[in-house]
Amino acid sequence: MKRTKQMLLAATAGAALFALTACGGGGGGGGGTAADFSKDYSGSLNVWGFENADEVGTSRVDVADKTVGGNDVKVKLEAAAFDAQKFTTRAASGNVPDVVQMDRQFVATYAAQGLVMPVDKCFALYDVEPREYWYPQVIDDVAYGGDIYAVPQFYQPPAILLNTRVMDEVGVTIDDMNTSDQAAFLDAVKKMTVMDGANPSRMGFDPQGVSKAGLWMLSFGGQTIDKDGKPALDNENNVKAIEFLKEIYDAQGGYANAKSFVDSFDVFGDNNSYVADQVGGAVFDQWYPNVLTSYADQVQLGATPVMTQDGKPFTVASGSSFVIPTAAKNPSAACAWLISLTSPEAWQAAGEARAETTANDPGRHGINTGLFTGSPESDQAIRDAYVKPSDYPGFDQVIDTYYTVAANGQSFGSSPAGQQIQTELQNAVTSALLGEKAPADALKDAQDAAMRAYNQVAG
């Protein structure tokens, strides 16, 4: 009947309308200018961050809370991971927290939008010289247009974590795992790899080719972001890096088969890839050896840095940071809290807390892998006070390698299109490794897309 048809048409139209509500906006927002930070602050402080905080996080928060507590500031901590959509919509409404934790690679994007404020004056107010207190490469990550837009924390340098049991089994030495000698490296990878049909049952080496694509490209002398913040994905050295990664994966059944195998790893569990001898080596950030301390009796570890093509140890800066939104209601309290949170005193408290955990938890086998704070001064202080030789020489060598390589880190650079550059880079590497596109073509397409994003943001 006519009415039935009308109802169907109405239902159709109604459902279709929802396609349009995907995009809305709001009012409010700020201007992206620095606040007049002052030591005379009060009120409350709202913080987003510290999801699943361990003793390192909570001990530092205690120190920072105590600092601002002296001015009767009440801190409300929302322990949640950074959510771009939530932050964006809240920014649109003007109802933002005073402090937000986010990955350092995203800071310039939000800075360019005027959503977060520069913190240079905050540092100046408390006599912090950022380029002296933090590693320069760490500060470079959060600098944009000559200003610093975030207070950084942590510096997780990636290096190659070796399974020396697998290496010994097939006669591969640590010297063979030198990425600047590509032919020897590939031979070592092939020796350690065990195939089951088309799929690997043991990977000689997991380069984490997509998630660590930037590391590989920079180690080959390439770049992802140029000094002006523009994307530089089609750099010819980037192409060489992908070609090398493809050779590594092809020696182990190809990217798709290798990735599926890696996806099945019990990364944090009792049957992790080092306990189960599923890898001969893999690129990991410094936090992973800390996870493996629980399995010290079951693993045999070593470590070596990724090398530049001229044979020098190399790593990249990565980690998180804290920003103060432009529309924050209490920027002065936020500034004081952040300076305290990342102070040598706070890191000292974190070092103590970690040492206590190490001593009280027999499952850690007395191994303290140290903390990589982003500040060389705090790193060294914690290492001197708490990182001692253990009963596990392999772990000691791993810890030493990560500490040594940290000084050789390089920043990816910062860009207002940082998020999109990162996304395009990873998608391009995925396409190239899967064989969808030739590496040069994939990077050219990624460069075009990233450049479009850059032009949209930078005008």
Binding site: M1, G114, Q420, T423, L425
Partner: protein
């Protein structure tokens, strides 16, 4: 409001005085539906109008300012190859997913329709996937679809078939999302089940006496009698398929540290990235309106074609 009501009768037009009772009833009706009307006006119609305005501007979130852009955002849609790529992926998925969802849901509904004992239990069990959060479903499918260790490929290997790399091979990315979609087909199934319950049993009995087999009965009785529900499901599923977001996002984009194959870039995901990753709200709004137009056109074509095949019992 006038206090009269005009009614056409066989004896001519008669004018009645509207009673206070009727006015109160009408007022109560409006009051009851007012939450929806207010919600619709603000959160749907208001958002639509706002997004239409934004689509003709360069909108700056931080300052809540917008520079006029004319048609630039719409022109940019055709300059950005990812828009067409994501649209192509989405259309391909819709063409693949909708017929399979219809067939699978109808199959399940017919099975349930024939269950006599414990029908309620089975209906509940079959509806459970719809109640499962999408994140949980995606996590399970992420494991099931693993090319090496996943249960699906292990099952295929048991019968001598080498399963594909579902989540990595560009040719299998969209079928893997379709598989996940089929898992949640129970909403469609329930509509079919309700329609099947309305088919008079005597039609089948008469057909059976006339010698019609099960296949003939299905095509000559079942299908025409439930064609209204079929039509509704096709339209709703098509719209949902063209707006697909969560399945693809959860399988391929939830971890920002890993790349995703181009084949997994759906239109709604690219729209989301433009709005909330790149703050390109004008462009994203233009994308939303393009999708709206596409959905409207497809729906109108379906309605036009559907009217030829749909059997409305009350029109007889």
């Amino acid at each position: 409001m006038a206090n009269t009501m005009t009614v056409e009768t066989t004896a001519g037009t008669r004018v009645f005085k509207t009673s206070k009772y009727n006015r109160r009833e009408a007022l109560a009706g409006y009051l009851f539906i007012s939450p929806w009307i207010v919600g619709f006006l603000i959160f749907t119609l208001g958002a639509m109008i706002y997004s239409l305005v934004i689509s003709f501007t360069y909108y700056q979130l931080a300052t809540n300012t917008a520079r006029p852009a004319g048609l630039a955002n719409y022109e940019a849609l055709f300059d950005d190859p990812k828009v067409m790529m994501s649209l192509g992926n989405t259309l391909f998925y819709a063409v693949l997913a909708v017929p399979l969802e219809i067939i699978f849901a109808l199959f399940l509904a017919m099975l349930l329709n024939n269950v006599r004992r414990g029908a309620g239990v089975f209906r509940t069990l079959y509806y459970l996937p719809k109640m499962t959060p999408a994140v949980a479903t995606a996590s399970v499918f992420f494991l099931l679809l693993n090319g090496n260790q996943g249960a699906i490929n292990k099952g295929l290997a048991a019968i001598g078939i080498q399963g594909p790399q579902w989540l990595l091979d560009p040719n299998w990315v969209k079928p893997s999302i379709v598989l996940m979609t089929l898992w949640g087909v129970s909403g469609t199934m329930v509509i079919f089940l309700a329609a099947l319950k309305t088919v008079p049993r005597d039609l089948y009995e008469v057909a059976q006496i006339d010698g019609a087999g099960p296949v003939r009965r299905f095509f000559s009785i079942t299908l025409p009698m439930i064609s209204g529900a079929m039509f509704f499901n096709v339209i709703v599923l098509t719209i949902a398929a063209l707006q697909t977001f969560d399945q693809a996002y959860l399988l391929f984009y939830r971890d920002t540290g890993t790349g995703a194959p181009d084949a997994s870039l759906f239109y709604a995901i690219y729209l989301f990235q433009q709005a909330f990753r790149q703050f390109n709200f004008g462009f994203a709004a233009a994308m939303a309106w393009l999708l709206f137009l596409i959905i409207m056109i497809i729906s109108l074509v379906q309605v036009k074609l559907g009217n030829r095949f749909v059997y409305y019992e009350s029109e007889r």
